[in-house]
Symmetry: C2
Subunit: 118 residues, 2 copies
């Protein structure tokens, strides 16, 4: 039985999750939470979105900034952005007609620290 990327209610914050993978055997619940965060990142389009947003001026970008470099349709870009927001990697702030997305500080580092062995 596959695991959906967006579990509805118990979206656990991976920032306060568990010890690094290699320290001790991870629990079933923690493995589910970490896997969900990794699934959110494990897509070429979403990796590029995170990268483009982080490297953009003022560290934020709107949908219109992403659609052309990604080469994807506008609904698809919005879908990926929703996944990244719900998984805690991006924030969304609407100003006028535009929606600006910004990287959540420390969110990537939280995942990285789970994988670090040293």
């Amino acid at each position: 039985m596959p695991m959906p990327v967006t579990e509805l209610l118990p979206i656990r914050d991976v920032t306060a999750c568990c010890a690094p993978l290699t320290r001790e055997a991870i629990s079933v619940e923690d493995a589910d939470a970490v896997a969900r965060s990794l699934k959110a990142l494990a897509d070429p389009a979403r990796l590029r979105i995170v990268s483009i947003v982080a490297a953009h001026d003022d560290q934020e970008a709107c949908v219109c900034d992403l659609q052309e470099p990604l080469g994807l349709s506008q609904p698809t870009v919005s879908h990926h952005l929703k996944v990244l927001v719900e998984s805690g990697f991006l924030t969304r702030s609407k100003r006028g007609t535009w929606a600006y997305y910004r990287l959540v500080p420390g969110s990537l580092d939280a995942v990285a620290s789970l994988l670090t062995t040293v």
Copy 2:
């Protein structure tokens, strides 16, 4: 079009991949390579396998050590192990009838360093 976890020939080593995500906009090819590595980890069973192997005595475990704690069938465990070997996170060494799996040193840290922002 979804991306398969196991691309046949060009399995790129994420250890020598690219700059961290947030330094500059990642290229399409690098995003594909990183996504493939993340996909290999983005599964609860595979995360638990990595964790159990790393926390095990002598840092290695055979299929029989994993089957019972994972609660999965033997073919499924072998399938996950194959994914982790082909993606460069585990090595396989067969001794007698048993197959022992071991964590590749630095493989997890390589992925972690791609996500680290500081």
